[in-house]
């Protein structure tokens, strides 16, 4: 008994022992310990010594300082991250922490400056340093192409920064969108054809020519033309472009919650349609498509009598 006591008392005077004790406490409570807990454990430790030990551990990067509603929390940092920060000084650690907090949305350099109160030159140096150590990376935002946001190296950028499935490296992938567009249209068109050929009653025909957005999504996933995973919302944006092309029409029906593909009790149905009219008469003449239509009048340099487009068209 006395030995333990002596040991404990012996521990108290040694700062290293104090630190170890604190670390052990942290191990015991992985979610973090408060000042109160340390005090309870080492009742005879003077606050000054305690503060010194905690500061030492913090500067060594072995403890994480967090704040919660009841006060300050100390948490043990895992060894991996501690090894990373070896050799970095406080400022870098601060910047690193700020970037980490930003999660996968990333943070702009100006915002880092505000949060850390460091001058711009310092920030830039630190950022370059961290980048060379491969701890953070810069991701160009798709919204403003000059803006660079910083985030941790191994994090996936959020959709709002990269633009989602349609952007690869800040470039809008128009071919990809075109391919998807055509595939969806072909799927809907073939479904409509099959329905028309089935020669059943018109109501059944029309209903069978509809495809829900869920079906289209499944079809596209199975086709496997996309390297990226596409969600149903993505497919719906593609289907909307088909509506704006005038090739597809959409209706919304009420669906039971829980049926596959229903969102908020509704389902969107799409079906391929034909054009309402043939290309109109005006565009069958050269004048309908003429780029200099406004400048053309009789007696001018550009006139119907001398029109080269008409000559070509007549000889066609």
């Amino acid at each position: 008994m006395a030995e333990v006591k002596v040991k404990k008392e012996a521990n108290l005077s040694d700062p290293a022992e104090v630190e170890n004790r604190i670390k052990e406490l942290c191990h015991q409570f992985p979610q973090g310990i408060t000042d109160q807990v340390i005090q309870n454990d080492l009742p005879h430790l003077e606050p000054q010594q305690r503060a010194m030990a905690i500061n030492k551990l913090l500067s060594l990067g072995q403890l994480d300082l967090l704040r919660n509603s009841s006060g300050l929390l100390y948490r043990l940092k895992d060894s991996q991250s501690t090894s990373k920060m070896k050799g970095s000084d406080n400022q870098e650690k601060l910047v690193y922490q700020i970037i980490e907090d930003a999660g996968n949305k990333g943070i702009w350099s100006r915002d880092i400056r505000f949060k850390s109160n460091l001058p711009l030159t310092e920030i830039n140096k630190i950022l370059k340093n961290l980048e060379s150590k491969k701890l953070i990376k810069a991701v160009k935002s798709v919204a403003a192409s000059k803006k660079k946001v910083y985030m941790l190296y191994n994090l996936q950028p959020d959709r709002s920064v990269t633009g989602g499935a349609w952007y690869s490296d800040q470039d809008f992938e128009s071919e990809f969108v075109e391919v998807l567009n055509q595939q969806c249209f072909k799927f809907l068109q073939s479904k409509a054809e099959a329905a028309r050929d089935s020669k059943q009653s018109p109501m059944v025909q029309r209903n069978s020519s509809f495809a829900t957005s869920h079906e289209v999504w499944k079809y596209i996933c199975e086709l496997g033309i996309s390297k990226v995973d596409l969600s149903m919302d993505d497919i719906e944006t593609i289907l909307n472009t088909l509506i704006y092309d005038g090739k597809v029409e959409m209706t919304v029906i009420a669906a039971k919650e829980g049926t596959v593909g229903s969102v908020d009790g509704q389902m969107k149905l799409y079906r391929g349609v034909n054009a309402v009219i043939q290309p109109t008469g005006l565009v069958k003449t050269p004048c309908g498509l003429c780029p200099v239509f406004e400048d053309c009048h009789e007696g001018g340099e550009i006139s119907p009598s001398s029109c080269i487009y008409m000559t070509e068209w007549l000889d066609f």
Partner: protein, 539 residues
């Protein structure tokens, strides 16, 4: 009337009636109502010529006269409107429609009336019978009664109507008589109760074949004089073509073909039946036809379409549910009351026309942006890019092109009272009606261009055309007098091969230009109907 319309009217008048009438007509179009003296003074033509041109214009209904501004005593004023003259462009379509509906007889009746403007029934019947007899084999001739029956059928379905009697409308008030004041607006044909009544006509006979022989001519002339002096009981009753009725027919056809394109044949047959049933009961400016019950539609379907009643109901429901809203449901009695939404159908067709023009002119991506703006009304540039899934740079380019062509408008919504550009929302929008009007003017200009090009082409090859005509005349006379084959070939060889080629090419060009005019006229018809339908519904 816009400059383009006046230019087109001038060209049409020139082609159909000659230069003098063109001069008078365009002058009237530009200057509004004028009396005879002013016209003579300003056009610089002689009194005689002006009078004759005015007669021609009045005969064709292109010019209306009424008593002058200062009251019943002042000289009559003449005014002319673009619409009637622009109808000349559509004559081939009218004649073709009459042919499809009433056969050759109907076609010729309509053609005669279009050429003459106003004619009595007896006169028309005689001329048409003569023409038909011309084309029949030897020994057969056309009976007047057949032509009369075709004429009556045309009147029954309102394709022909009586000309309004100008004397009844603009009676100068006799002093002391409390007569109705002279109306400022010329009476419409419909205001007469007898508008569509066929007069009792005593006309018996057959068509006369024209004989080429000399001796027959004098005899014929004498006979003709005698025939003309016979009264047939319908003096003073003149008939004209009812353009509005033809337009209603074209509109119905457009709706039916749109339904056939969008849905299927059976649906279009149903719509055709519905429109046919409401042909004479619906007024021209109506928004939709009178409600028809499903039972009536079922009974009136053509016998070849043997669809059972429940299927018909399904088709009707599908038509009502279609986003194009061709057919609407107006009630539940009688198995469901259905109407055809005429104005909405016209608006949809006009919108499809606009979209097709944008698509052909600027490409399918611009068409996507155009349709997007039509649907969503107002959008910012960023939103346009997102919805249409077009890269930002290209979308910007296309939007600016459309803006420069005035197909798309920019709406500014300021955030601050000073319209600072950085603090204003700029929204893109498409207004369907003004855009349709603009395209309509473009169509007029296009048709005028095509006509001018056609005249230019014929003028270029005038010499060649004259030569070929002379040779044809020589050939015809040689053949009639029974020449030998060698003489014929000798004459034919007077046209060299390259000249023949040139002639063929010229013929091809002129045909192409002609058919192009008709195609543009179809667009003109759709857009005009749409613009007129909105005017009546809002005005």
């Amino acid at each position: 009337m816009t400059a383009q319309e006046v230019r087109l009217c001038g060209l049409l008048l020139h082609e159909h009636f000659g230069e003098v009438v063109e001069k008078v007509g365009t002058h009237l179009l530009r200057s509004g109502a004028q009396n005879l003296r002013t016209i003579i003074h300003e056009t610089g033509l002689s009194v005689d010529l002006v009078k004759k041109s005015l007669m021609v214009l009045v005969q064709h209904g292109a010019c209306l006269f009424s008593s002058g501004r200062k009251g019943p005593g002042s000289p009559t004023e003449y005014r002319s409107g673009c619409d009637r003259i622009l109808r000349i462009l559509r004559y081939p379509r009218y004649i073709y429609t009459a042919k499809t509906l009433y056969g050759d007889t109907g076609e010729l009746v309509v053609e005669e009336l279009l050429q003459r403007g106003h004619m009595t029934m007896s006169g028309t019947v005689k001329t048409v019978a003569d023409r038909l007899t011309q084309n029949m084999e030897e020994g057969r001739s056309m009976d007047y009664s057949e032509v009369s029956s075709a004429f009556s059928k045309l009147v029954e379905t309102h394709f022909l109507q009586r000309c309004p009697n100008p004397a009844a409308g603009a009676t100068p008030a006799a002093p002391g008589t409390p007569a109705a004041p002279a109306s400022a607006i010329p009476p419409t044909p419909e205001s007469f109760p007898d508008c569509y009544k066929v007069p009792h006509m005593t006309l018996v006979g057959r068509g006369k074949r024209q004989l080429a022989a000399e001796d027959g001519e004098d005899q014929r002339n004498a006979k003709r004089q005698k025939m003309d002096s016979e009264a047939h009981g319908d003096e003073g009753i003149y008939w004209q073509v009812n353009f509005e009725r033809f337009h209603l027919h074209f509109r119905d056809q457009a709706i039916i073909s749109a339904v056939a394109n969008k849905l299927d044949q059976t649906s279009s047959e149903i719509v055709r039946t519905m429109l046919r049933m409401s042909e004479v009961t619906t007024s021209p400016a109506a928004t939709c036809t009178k409600p028809l019950s499903a039972n009536e539609i079922f009974r009136s379907l053509p016998a070849s379409y043997n669809i059972p009643r429940p299927i018909l109901d399904q088709y009707l429901t599908l038509l009502v549910d279609d986003p194009m809203e061709f057919v609407g449901k107006a009630g539940e009695s009688g198995g469901g009351m259905y109407v055809v939404n005429l104005h909405r159908a016209l608006a949809n067709l006009a919108r499809a026309t606009l979209e097709s023009v944008v698509q052909e002119r600027f490409g399918s991506r611009s068409a996507r942006i155009f349709r997007l703006l039509l649907r969503k009304r107002h959008l910012e540039q960023k939103q346009v890019e997102d919805f249409a899934m077009i890269p930002a740079k290209e979308a910007k380019d296309m939007l600016y092109t459309l803006l420069s062509q005035n197909l798309v408008q920019l709406q500014e919504i300021p955030k601050t009272p000073d319209y600072a550009p950085s603090r204003t929302f700029y929204l893109y929008t498409v207004n369907q009606l003004p855009t349709a009007r603009m395209l309509l003017q473009n169509c007029y200009k296009t048709v005028a261009n095509l006509i001018e090009r056609r005249l230019f082409e014929s003028k270029e090859s005038k010499r060649l055309l004259e030569k070929s005509q002379r040779i044809e005349a020589i050939l015809a006379s040689l053949q009639a007098s029974g020449a030998e084959p060698e003489q014929l070939t000798e004459v034919e060889e007077m046209i060299t091969a390259p000249e023949k080629q040139q002639l063929d090419a010229l013929k091809l060009h002129i045909n192409k230009l002609d058919s192009a005019e008709n195609q543009v006229d179809e667009t003109i018809f759709l857009l005009e109907s749409y613009v007129n339908s909105t005017a009546t519904s809002t005005g």
